[in-house]
C-alpha cells in the first residue's frame, strides 16, 4: 500500500520516465513499450483524483515513446544524408538531461532556502510623523502618454486573450449550438425571401449579409433547401452568378429541419 502511494510523488512524465529507466535499465533499441505503458497506466490508476489534465500529460509521453520506437523500426531513408540523420532518441535524451539538471538545481535551492530562512528581518519603524508624509504621485508623469484610446486598446487585447484561453473544443460546442438557432432562422428568412421574389441572385443574397458568419450560415441554408428540394439553382458559366428558383408554395416550419 505505501509503495503505491509513493507513485504519487512523481511530478510528471519525465520524472516517472527517469524512474522507470533507472528501474528497468531500459535499452532504448528495444523499449519495452508494453511494460512502460502498463506502468504508466498503473500510475494513473493509483492517482487518487482522476485529473484529466494530469493523465493527458502522462499519455503524451507514452505516445512520444511509441513514436520513437516506430521511428527506430523504420529503415533509414536512403535519400537523407547520413550525417544529417538525427537519432530519434536525441530529443528525448536532451529533454531528460535538461529536466535532470533542473531537478538538481532545485535541490541546491532547497538547501539555500534552509540557510536563508534563519535570517530575521525587522519591521519598518519609521516615526509616525515621517511615515504620514507621502510623496505625492505626479499624475502627469505616471500616466505619461496614456490616453483613453490606449486604455481601450489594452482592454480589447486583454479580452482577446481571455477568448484565447477558452478551451477550443468546448468553446466550439457552444458555438455550434448558437449557429443551430441562426441556421434555422436563416432558412426561415430565405424561404420568406423566396416566397416573395421566386427567382433571385445568390450573389446579391450573400452581399446582403452583414458578416462572415452570416454568409456561411446563409450558404448552409441554401444547401439545406436544395437537399430538401425546396429550391433549384442554376449557373450558366463558371464564376457566373447563381440564380436561385424558389419551387415551393409554402414555408416549412423550422422544427421540421433536422440539422445535424
Amino acid at each position: 500500500m505505501p509503495i503505491q502511494y509513493k507513485l504519487e510523488s512523481f511530478e510528471g512524465p519525465l520524472d516517472l520516465l527517469l524512474h522507470l529507466i533507472e528501474k528497468n535499465k531500459i535499452n532504448i533499441y528495444d523499449i519495452p513499450i508494453v511494460l512502460i505503458t502498463e506502468q504508466y497506466m498503473e500510475y494513473i490508476h493509483d492517482l487518487k483524483e482522476k485529473d484529466l489534465d494530469i493523465m493527458s500529460d502522462f499519455l503524451v509521453m507514452a505516445a512520444t515513446l511509441l513514436k520513437i520506437k516506430s521511428k527506430m523500426l523504420l529503415p533509414a531513408d536512403p535519400k537523407e544524408d547520413s550525417e544529417e540523420a538525427v537519432d530519434p532518441r536525441q530529443e528525448l535524451v536532451e529533454r531528460l538531461l535538461e529536466y535532470k539538471m533542473f531537478k538538481y538545481i532545485s535541490c541546491e535551492l532547497k538547501d539555500k532556502q534552509f540557510g536563508a530562512a534563519k535570517l530575521m528581518f525587522k519591521e519598518s519603524t519609521i516615526p509616525d510623523e515621517i511615515s504620514q508624509y507621502r510623496e505625492p504621485v505626479d499624475m502627469k508623469e505616471l500616466l505619461n502618454d496614456l490616453t483613453l484610446q490606449k486604455l481601450h486598446v489594452i482592454f480589447e487585447s486583454v479580452i482577446k486573450k481571455q477568448v484565447d484561453k477558452i478551451d477550443p473544443i468546448r468553446s466550439k460546442f457552444g458555438r455550434i449550438e448558437r449557429e443551430d438557432i441562426n441556421l434555422s432562422q436563416k432558412i426561415m428568412d430565405i424561404q420568406n425571401y423566396g416566397i416573395q421574389y421566386r427567382k433571385f441572385s445568390f450573389r446579391k443574397l450573400l452581399e446582403a449579409q452583414c458578416d462572415k458568419m452570416e454568409v456561411i450560415v446563409t450558404f448552409l441554408g441554401i444547401l439545406e433547401l436544395i437537399k430538401m428540394g425546396r429550391i433549384l439553382i442554376q449557373q450558366d458559366d463558371l464564376f457566373d452568378d447563381i440564380i436561385i428558383d424558389y419551387l415551393a408554395e409554402d414555408i416549412i416550419p423550422v422544427e421540421q429541419f433536422s440539422i445535424e
Partner: protein
Amino acid sequence: MENEMNNEFISPIENIENLEAVIEAILFTMGEAVELERLAAAAGHDEDTVRRIIRSMMDQYQAENRGIQIIELDNSFQMCTKATMYESIIKITHVPKKHVLTDVLLETLSIIAYKQPITRIAIEAIRGVQCDHAVNKLVEYNLITELGRLDAPGRPILFGTTEEFLRNFGIKSLDELPIVKPEKLEDFKLEVEEELQLELDI
C-alpha cells in the same frame, strides 16, 4: 521537542562576544523594548551579567560611526536610531520614487475601468494571474477605489475607478469611455479560431 527547547533556555552562552551578538540580534528583531528578565532568560545568564554587558554595548554604540543605539527604559532595553539621524531618515523617506504604470497595472486598470464594479477574483479570472499587488498599487495611485462589497459569500470588495481617474483623462463620466463593440468581440473569436485552424493545419 518542546521540552528540549526549554532545556536550551538554560544552556548559557559562554562567550561574552557571542552574548553581545545575541543581545544585538534579539533587540534588532524585536524592535520594541524587551524586559531584562526575558533577555537574560534567552541568553541563559543572570540579569546582572546581562545588564552589565548591555551597558558596555551602549558605550560601544556611542562611536561616531554607529547610527543606532540601545536605550534603557524602566529595566527594559530597546534598539533605536540616534536622535542625530532624524534628518537623514526624513531625507530617505523623501527621496522621490519613480512611478510607472507597468503592463500589469495598465491591464488591471483597463479591466476595472470597463468592468466596474468588479471584485479582485473577477479580475484574476480575466487575467489568469493574481493581481493583489496591481490592485493595491492602483489604489495607492488613487486611480481606483473601493466601491463597496459584493452581496456574495465572503462579501468581496468591489473596485471601480476614481474621480481622479476621470479628471486625468479629461472625461466627465464613464459613459465617455471608448466603446467596445460587440462585433469586435466576435472578430476576436474568429481570429482565435483562425489561429487555431492554422495550428492544426501545420
